[in-house]
Symmetry: C2
Amino acid sequence: MTQATQESRIRNGINVDTLYGTLDAIKAQPDLAKFQFRATNRWIDGAHNRSTIQGFYAAGGDDTTRVEAFELDAGEPAILLGTDTGPNPAEYLLHALAACLTTSIVYVAAARKVQLTSVESTLTGDMDVRGALGVDDEPRNGFERIGVSFRVTGNAPEEKLREVVERAQKRSAVYDMVTNGVPVTVHVETD
Amino acid sequence: MTQATQESRIRNGINVDTLYGTLDAIKAQPDLAKFQFRATNRWIDGAHNRSTIQGFYAAGGDDTTRVEAFELDAGEPAILLGTDTGPNPAEYLLHALAACLTTSIVYVAAARKVQLTSVESTLTGDMDVRGALGVDDEPRNGFERIGVSFRVTGNAPEEKLREVVERAQKRSAVYDMVTNGVPVTVHVETD
């Protein structure tokens, strides 16, 4: 394999050979596709709490490649009774959505031979906090709507770039969850 | 006001007087409850992208109390073609849910005169990645289900602690969004 060919296999920072190898392996053995992601969270004080994220289950076993855990601090601004120890949970949800759509765009573009030069987005979530604060039952607790505005550039005509974004939207895990909802089971222990 | 009385107004790190003042202000002037949270995101390379979170709209104007922006890095582990530059987007969603339920528990407990000693949770999200990778149309892209396991302790009987968690679940913004979904509009520019 020449150097030029090797280089052509990395697109948008994604190893396209590995990408296709992963897809082939999962097609041949669908059980490899069963993943479980995890987070543990601990209250610190007031609106300040911290999640620790490290291990996950993937491709038939527990993944141990992460040497260190990721730690994420949440908080609330003063107007919502916190001390700004981190983004608030609803802002984290906007970040999760932005990150997932962006990664999906990058992967889809890599598979479709589109070299991207930039992917930028702005997200807004409109909320009537009377719901979450329990002042009024009528407004819902969460965002009434989320707006996502992307600017995507790369070595492809506008139509192809738009197709990449559309396909990414159809395949994004967090977009699916945020638009369609997920069944959540809550278990409580008190000692 | 005596020192003892002042101290009794801070519960679980939440100023209960401010909490009730906020609720009264919003009841009197419901427009103050209109908030908009925001995030901007920028692709860096491969599965690595970064969100910046700072300003938001609240109580009739743009909030400017955050002197510095929060920056959040997302990534994917090697098995999902990344280099582990941060938690992945689905893990961020678990964190958003954990953080919101925990904060809701802390605020509800403060309002109900329950002094908490600990709030810990473990969240799991089960995903068949054939959906998000586009290998098979049958599995959904996101988590099939999310499990949340709380351990909550404080100066109240078990029944009261369970009531606090139930009420918090009914008022959590992210729990509402993750279980019921939110309308999302995506706009794309390509130059």
